[in-house]
Structure formats: C-alpha cells, structure tokens
Amino acid sequence: MSPEIRALLQSEELHAPLDRQSPLDVSGLTVAYGSAPAVWNVDFKALPGTLVAIVGPNGAGKSTFLKGTLGLVPTIDGRIGSYGLPIPKVRQRIAYIPQRESVDWEFPATAIDVVTMGLYRQIGWLRPIRRRHKEIALSALAELGMADFADRQIGQLSGGQQQRVFLARAIAQDADLYLMDEPLAGVDAATERTIVALLQRLVSSGKTVIAVHHDLSTVKEYFDQALLLNVRNIASGPVGQALTEETLQRAYGGRLAPPQLRAALG
C-alpha cells in the first residue's frame, strides 16, 4: 500500500475523530497470522464505567483483539484510541493481564515482585524500587487476601492465587482501563467471586474493565456489555441486546447445544 493511500485511509475525512470519552475506541482492526485473518475489520467502542465481556468460540480472535489493540501483535489495519489518544500516549492509564501461557511461572519472582511490576512506570525506568513501592504492592495484595503469600514464589501458588496476584498487579497500577485475557480461567469458585466483586467495584468507581470470558452461562450475571466476536464483530452492546439466540448461533456457527444457549440467554 502506498503511503498516500495509507494516509488517506487514516485521514479524518474517512474516520470520525477518536472519542475522547471512550476508554477504548477501535475501528477497522484487522490482524492476520500468516494469510489467515484472525480479526477482521472489527469496530468497537467501550463506554466508560462498564464491565465488558469479549465472548466467542475458540479461535474467534478474542485474545488477538486485545493484543492487537495494545500493539502486542502486528496489525494490518485499524485505528485504536483510548480517551481520544493513540495507545502509546496513554500506557499509564491501561493495565493488562495477559493469558496464563505468556508468563514464565518458573521465574524466580515472588508474589510481591510481580505486583511491584505494576508500579514500574511510576517508579521510572532504570530507577530503584523503594520501600514505599513495596508498601503499595503489599496493600494491593492485601486487597485480594494475598498478603500472607507475598514472599511465595509465583509458580508455587495455586491457579486462583496466581490470578489474584495478577489482579493485585493491575490494581497497584491504578489504571483507568483494564484489559484482561481470561481472568477467570482455571480459578476456584471462591476466587471467581472475589475477582468479580473486585471488577464490579472498579467499574462502580468509574473505571472500565474489558475481559475475555469463556463461560457463556455467567456473562449476563457478571457483565454490563458484551462484544460477541468470531473474527468479525458479530454483535456488541448491552449484554441483553448483544447476546440473542440469533447472534449466538451466528457466532458459534450453530454449534451451541440448547442447554448452553438457554444458559447464555439467562
């Protein structure tokens, strides 16, 4: 694509200006691995102070959508804004919880080390970690009931405890937008309740949480908004409107069994 055409495609005449209010304003996001598109021309605008679920079948591009917005995978096209600015200018306001697989659980880091990473931008690159940073990290751990495990190596914690540590890291970061890749995957019921309560508290204080969610039966209970994805944006909006029998069957290619469908529609 020539630079002129690229400039024209991204110019203001073809696109509305980035929404200053929206924590995540995505238009035309396209990501491909090799020649197969993983995310195709997805538009999505999050409303501030909402809890948003990204839902869809395996391989629908849910994680890729999050990674594409954050620049973790190369995008082919798309304009991504957060509070009216491009992502590199608002990194301080965005907290990301990656998928479990992208973390090295064997690494010699303790729970408090991991939470302190949420403060790295605040501490500054190449600057030392001070006692007050450790204290902020410890209070974030305490908020998730993990203060007693502060000095435990991260790999020696259970799946639910690890997820709490990552949430504590996001809390310590004190962001306005939280992007989470399956925060409820592989956690026990008690941890799930703790995490959901915390997310709802974040949202009620005006923050925005966008989370990849795999359990259709709890979407309506936990979330306000949904983005139903299968490479394309199948439907998005308030959960009640986005998840209907028609849209779900379209996203899942008619593979949903009636009980699953009933559970999803609540």
Binding site: G34, K67, L70, G71, L72, P88, R91, I94, Y96, P98, S102, V103, D104, F107, P108, A109, T110, D113, V114, M117, Y120, R121, I123, W125, L126, P128, I129, Q153, I154, Q156
Partner: protein
Amino acid sequence: MTFLQIDLPAISVAILAALTAALVGNLLILRRQALMGDALSHMVLPGIVAGYLISGHPKTWVTIACALVAGLFGAAVVALIRKIGRLDMATAMGVVLTAMFAAGVLMIETTGTAGVHLDVEHALYGSIESVIWPHPMTWVDILNPDGWGHLPEEIPFLAGTFAILSAAFLLTAKEITLVTFDPSFGITLGLPFWVTELAINGAVAIAVVAAFDAAGSILVIAMLICPAATARLTTNRFSSQIWASLFFATTAAIVGYCLAVWGAAALGASSAVNAAGGIACVAGLILGIAAVWRRWLQHST
C-alpha cells in the same frame, strides 16, 4: 616461588572469566535460551576477524567492538527469522550461527589471517596457563603499585568488563525481571521489545568476546550455563540467583584450576591437565550435585 608468578595470575583470569560469563549466563538460563551463548560465541567470529584486519592486533577495543556488532547483528537476524519465518528459536539460531561462523572462516582463509591467533586449539582451550605476572617475588609485592603496570593485560581487561556488566546488571535488574517473566506486560508498559532484546544479547556478546580470548570457548560455554543453572536449582529469589551463580562460578574456577594443575600430578599424571577443561568439568559436577540434592529434597518433603 612460581605460585605468585604463574598460578595466581592464571587463577585470577579463570575467576574473572568465569564471573563474567556466569553473570550473563543468568540472562540465558532465565530466558530459556541457554544455547544462545553457544550461538553468539560462533557468530562473533566474522567480527573478530574484521576487527583484526582493521587494527592488526587480536586483543583491542576495535576487535571487541567489531565482535559486538557481529553478535548483535546475529542476534537481530535470529529474532527476525523467528518473527517473519515463524521458526522456533533453536532452528533460527542453528541457521544463523553456521552461516556466520562459515563467513568468519572464509574471511580468515581469504585474507591470510590464519594462524595468527585464531587456531582451533587456542580457541577451544584458551590460554589461561600462559598468563604470567613476573613482577611479584613475595606476597607483599602484590600490593606494590609499581608492579601493577606489568599485570598481564587479560586481568584489567576482564576485570573492567565484569565491572561494567555488573553495573549494567544492577541498573537494569528490574527491567530484566519484567521482560523475562512477562514480556507482553513489559510491552504494554512501553518497554520496546527490540531495545531489551538487543541490550540483553549485547551484554551476552560482550561477555563472550571478553572471556573467550583469555579462557577459550570450552570454559566460556560451561560458565555461561553451569553456574546459573546450578543457582536455578538452589533458589527461588532473583537476587540470590545472581549471587549464587557468581559463587558457583568462583568455586568452579578455583577448584577446577587446582585439580587440573596439582590434582592430576597427585594422581600420577606426568604433567598437569588443561585448566579450562578442569574448570568446565568441576562446573558440570557442581551442577550434577545440585540436581541430585534438589531431587533428594523433593523426595524427603
């Protein structure tokens, strides 16, 4: 009294080379790229030859700089092949290290630099035993600054490299932890992938080039991997990991040298065995003991 003139400088070089390699070895072990050290020690060859051609001497800052450029270039090509070709790390390294090593050999053959310093035996075993410091006659002489000017060049050179790398390590320990433990989180915090990748591989390349010349590739590769791997088996803390690796490196250098020089004779060998080989064997032995010890710990709890 040959100890002060021959063994002390040799042990010093062995310890400094071991410390330098072990320090950056932590980066390789923690990033699960142990073979990157092996690859880098081959990829720097065209740089060393180019540096020699420019400066006319194998041990200069020009050579180091050229080797570093070659190492960084190789590391960048490996990263590029991984990204674009979607190949795994080992394949990408294998392709680049053989191509660059072959290029280095070609450069040696076509430019007539062969035999100067780059012969196989020297490259493998190094020349720890040939380091001598004729100045001190008694232990007190070591403290006399008049003799420092005659220190074998390997000692200040390796000490300087180790000091610089240690300072860099202290300064970036926080960033190293971040990009190794959770690289995608590092990117979302605005730490660019290419910068950290080049910085880490650059540090490894510097250590490899600096230690390689004095100590040879057997010792360097053993010290890149064994002390850090041993430390990994004995601790779950980042800072203790680093300190433990330096401790194991020093122990292996001292014990390995003593065994090679005096142990072999005590066992009836007619002459001392190669010191670099002795040190590498001891480092491997310590790693083995640590592995057995850890298994035993896991079984007994």
